[in-house]
Symmetry: C2
Amino acid sequence: MSPVTVSGALRRLAAEGLVTTRPGAGAFRAETRPHGTPAGDTSWQEIALSADPAADAVPRSVDAADILVTLAAPPPGVIELNGGYLHPALQPERALAAALARAGRRPGAWERPPVEGLAELRAWFAREIGGVAPDRVLVTGGGQPALTGALRALAAPGAPVLVESPTYPGMLAAARAFGLRPVPVPVDAEGVRTDLLAEAFRATGARVFVCQPLFQNPTTAVLGAGRRREVVRIAREAGAFVVEDDFARRIAHEDAGELPPTLVSGDPDGVVVHVTSLTKATSPSLRVGAIAARGPVLDRLRAIQIVDSFFVPRPLQEAALELVGSPAWPRHLRTVAAALRTRREALLGALAGALPELPVPEAAPGGFHVWQRLPDGTDERALAAAALRAGVAVAPGRHYYPAEPPAPRLRLSFVSPADTGEITEGVRRLRTALDSLV
Amino acid sequence: MSPVTVSGALRRLAAEGLVTTRPGAGAFRAETRPHGTPAGDTSWQEIALSADPAADAVPRSVDAADILVTLAAPPPGVIELNGGYLHPALQPERALAAALARAGRRPGAWERPPVEGLAELRAWFAREIGGVAPDRVLVTGGGQPALTGALRALAAPGAPVLVESPTYPGMLAAARAFGLRPVPVPVDAEGVRTDLLAEAFRATGARVFVCQPLFQNPTTAVLGAGRRREVVRIAREAGAFVVEDDFARRIAHEDAGELPPTLVSGDPDGVVVHVTSLTKATSPSLRVGAIAARGPVLDRLRAIQIVDSFFVPRPLQEAALELVGSPAWPRHLRTVAAALRTRREALLGALAGALPELPVPEAAPGGFHVWQRLPDGTDERALAAAALRAGVAVAPGRHYYPAEPPAPRLRLSFVSPADTGEITEGVRRLRTALDSLV
């Protein structure tokens, strides 16, 4: 090669940053990493992912494990007594497919929707929630983004947030992911202990309390009539918000009777931020829900949703409208209500039959599961592992507690198995697992 | 009424929390708000929404205004020279409708997908990105959640984040919403000034730099060949990540020639976190995108997505797969590439004809817009307001700067008008607006 060719090649390599030329010394391969570090070494990330300029830094790692317990698919052959969604057999699959196909052909179905959601869908949610105007409703991508958005809107990193104890692990994970400190307020058979709530606000200075007044997850408790107003009054006196996670309204069972109204419907002062979702009563993939609120907080909730994800895909919103406006919708809700009752009773019957030494679990005519007390000293993790070996997946109770659990528990779902036969067989396998521990 | 009826009614009202009884004093209407506060007064929220336990608190309000500039629909009759999505005439509407209908009927289409996304779709994105294995790809709900997730994963509240100046306002808004401090690194015709990048890392201790190497928004600059490797090397030396926002790869124009590969494809050390999306080349509502990364950071990105939103709705993922696997897809991309070239040339021609006194704007054969310098001293806000009165919406340049802008600018989009006729008419109205300011 001629010197001209070589220097031309070097110039080009230098321009591409592949070599560095040092006048008087020569041309050297350019380094992209500190001297001596081998290529493909990502261990530097561990420092970068935890380095933090603030002295009082909150932990930065994010733990999704407790959500994955109920979200991940189980191994083949394992009966799922830990799921959080309707089994496909209970989902309105044909109505959903039809709704989606019609939605995709609606004029403008692929246009950007209003960032707050389709007007027709906001109006539908407003009617469902009761006592709120459509312009106070934001359409969200399901319940989880609504909850995380509400937590971020209402509390700053490092701030305390009052939560029911036990409560939904996905909310705890979201709170912790934002650096919030969940502070437990115990729940009994009538829901959150309002006699402890005011003290919890005083002790922490918290500005938000997250509450599931209807068929609380996991205890299944319904907030007592006397406590409903107390919760709002105590929060208002503390200058704090109540996030009402109304996840279970559309999955009440046939024998539930009349449901209490939403907390937000009786709140003129903007204390309650209401969260609801279509997902639980339909499919995990119909990720459409809503937030309702009043006052300046609505602007912040809206801004957070825009900044995070712009808006909910319009075809999904159109499909939701098609579904809830179809004759199949009330029929589907009735079918689900009947099936949930049957399944709940099947699970309770199976537990009484196969595990008669255990106390009758907490179970209400709403929601997806029962809350099973275990004998003192039972190692939940060992039991869950033994259960998996026996072919049944269960959710250990400890994931539901913001702090140390007072007693061992399991949350047992009756919606994720294929049918009542699988429920009975799942409980039989749980018996095997319990026996294997002794 | 008998005393029995009255005391029965009082007992019931007390049980519902509507009255409080004080023995010896009587029954009183229960208060849910501090004494003297009228019902429906939400002003207490202003305190709650800003109260913060941390002394060095970051601002808590969230501002979505700069995103809404390009996201909100314009008033009727107004020509949109500020849009960020393909006009419906350029969207593959029929192919999208067909894909969605087929997706809804795919077996298991409404089941929960794997939280990382459908395997087939991850593999498709991996091939598109180049040099990454499918198991390093996460499917996201478009580019915006991917960007916000990456920012949260890589920086703690209060931390600095290096950004190009000017840059995409949606990224600035997301960074600020999480309490991050955007620190500008200037961009010139070859992209970010790498001679200033190392200094910016040193001065701030930042652990992340957000970069658009291809058709940068808004300058349209392509990162120079020599700088591509520099960016990764400098970040690696600083122990920092590079977020590669590769938003424009599928909206290169017919005359773009061969595109440089992605930064992530040549990065063995996990420095680059790559973000891409299908939205720009299709519809704002096909909210499907991807993140690709390597090392522990991938776990954090995955956990953040699960905690925030669980997963991307499966029917949308299936629809995306149907679309990109159909014969209509390459045809659509060619059609768009040709149309974008025609529209870009139409806008440049209209500007040269109607506004000859302005410098020729920055414009590259990729992206959706040109970056128009205005005469020194032009009041961008007054001009944008005058333009709206004249019937054309434009985006003031200042929204694109993390700090004070060095000169007045407009970002003018050629994709949101219906056709080239609207582009020409929009520029004519801009002429009217400019003249009205003098």
